[in-house]
Structures are given as C-alpha cells and as structure tokens.
Subunit: 180 residues, 2 copies
Amino acid sequence: MTRRKVRLAYIVNHSERKASYKKRKRGLMKKVQELSTLCGIDAAAVLYGPYDERPEVWPEDPTALNQVLARFKAVPASEKGKWMVDQETFTRQRIEKTKEQVKKILRDSREKEIHLFIDQCLSGENNPESLQSQDANDVSFAIKRNVMEITRRLALLKNQDGDGVGGAAADDGGGLPQGH
Amino acid sequence: MTRRKVRLAYIVNHSERKASYKKRKRGLMKKVQELSTLCGIDAAAVLYGPYDERPEVWPEDPTALNQVLARFKAVPASEKGKWMVDQETFTRQRIEKTKEQVKKILRDSREKEIHLFIDQCLSGENNPESLQSQDANDVSFAIKRNVMEITRRLALLKNQDGDGVGGAAADDGGGLPQGH
DNA sequence: CACGCTATTTATAACAT
DNA sequence: TATGTTATAAATAGCGT
C-alpha cells in the first residue's frame, strides 16, 4: 500500500511480517472503532496474533465485547436459531474434515519417516537395526520390515557405485506462522 | 476520509451513514482478510449492521480449504525410479511440502476455532471472558496436538532446525496420536 | 529489532448519473 | 436510493536511525 504495491500473499520474512502485522493490527482496530462510531453500530474483532499470547480483540473490554455479542439475543428466535445452527453445524463439519485431513497427514508423515530413515541408513547416521528401538505400532512396523529389505538392497547398490550421500539439510528458520 | 477530513463522530444523516457503512464494511473485511493472509494469522470480525439482523462476519465462508491435502499423494511412479538418485533432496522437498500442509491445517484449525468461539458466544454457550481459556477447547486442542505431534516427529527425525510448529499451547509431551 | 519518516498505494467522502 | 467516478485523506512498505 505504499512504496510497493501489496503482494497478497504470506510474508515469508519474519521481520517484515511482524512489522506489517503490527502496523496493520493497529490500522484494523482503528477501522473497527471508526466504523462503530461513525455508523453507530456494534462491532467486534478478534485477532489471533502469532506474537501475542492472548488474542487481540476490539473492543478491548471483554464486557463491552460481550455486550456486542449479546445483542444477538435480541434477534428474532427463528432467524437466530436458524443461522446459528447452520453456522455451528457448518463449523463442526469442517472440523471433522480437518481431523480427517490430520489423519491423512499422520499417515503420510510415516512415509516420510521411512524415507528419512533410508537416508540416514545410507549416510551412516543410522542403521537398520535401530528400527528395533523405534516406537512400534502395527502399521509402521509392518512397513518398516519391508523398508529394511529395501534398505538392504539400496545399501548394496550404494556400495557398488561408491558413496556420496551426505550433506546436511537446511531450513530457512521461517517457521510456521502460528508458532510462538 | 477523503474530500473532507473525517469527523470521528456519529453520522446523523441516514443516507450518508448507510453509504459510509457499506463502503467501510467492505474495506474492513478486506483489511481483515489481508492481515490474515499477509501475516499468516487467524482473524475474525463481527459487524452488527443496522440493516441486516444477522451479523456480518469474516471469514464468511472459508471453503477454499478443501485443497489442503489435494496434491499430497501426487507422486508419479516414474519419479520413484529417480527417487533414489537424489534421496535427500527428494525427501527434504517432501518434508517441506508436509510442513506446508501442516501450516495450512494449523491455520485452518485456528480459523474454525474462532468461528466456533463466536458461535458459542452468540448462542450463549460461551462468553468473551472465556477467551482466557480458549486453549481448553477440546476439539481444536486435540487437532493442534496432533499437528504439533507431526511436526515434532519430523523435527526429531531431521534432528535439526529449531523451527517448526512450535506451538505455544502446553504440550504434555504425550505419545503418538495414533488412535485419536 | 523498534521507531520515525516519506513515497505511494488504498480507502473513501463528496459528487455525478 | 444504488452505483460509478474523482479528489483527497489515510494507511502503510521500504528505508534510515
């Protein structure tokens, strides 16, 4: 919005992101307050910032916020119930969906676990025997047995060509936006 | 805020007030969305407009999140042959991909958390004061734990990079979220 | 890194249709 | 009154301290 047109995307750089967040948070809260004042309406905003422990809210006074939300109770019961139920149902359904997605992620993370394990075996950071001490559950254990077999073959191949697997992985340290 | 400097006071004229409300509502929602996108945080806004009896909220309908795990399984079989050529790179890329997925899931969960919270406030099942204990939300907390667990395991496996999800929420260090 | 300072982009009050 | 346009105020990205 200024010296450069805004990129509507996640700001990767931590410092820039934090600076932007700080400025925009202030601007946003001001806007909410202005709208409330100018138009005489009740408004509320909730921000789950990655830097603040507690969510930023407007109005700052929980009582006032409560008052804003309490106004909902003055709405005709029919409309209210309808909308609320819809919203809540919708939200719960989406949460269920998310849980399923998390399960998938968990499963797929095991795949990656195996890949990493192979890497480590090949680079000498680990060895197939250590599988015995890895936490075992029926799923991953069954897979691991296969992996050991594969790993053995890979190791053989590797020994034929000579080695060369190595190097350290690096991370940008940017981290996830919600991390504190 | 333009041809005349803004007067921070209630706009008496009905037409003007309504016009201002409409424009500012749009601007505000845009700002909320921008802040959420740019800084990777979760945000919500509730406006009790004088004209509609149901509150305007943001996000109005976060449906765009189904794609979260879309391409996750996309691993062409042909690539698997090359896979061994540069395992570490490949694995690292997949890990990054997973992190991206986890990041999105986290944000998604957070968004739902906010929605649910607002819904509960509106229906009287909850109140703004309970913001103090938001972390107690069973569902979202469970999801967060799962996600954190994934990330933690990945971090352990990589045995490096201090970043990651790094949740602020308390973690009892519990075991695998296998069974849910 | 947090602040303060512009150069520009955005938002929008007043008009116009 | 609703929508579109324009002149101007407000917000803010990139810098400098």
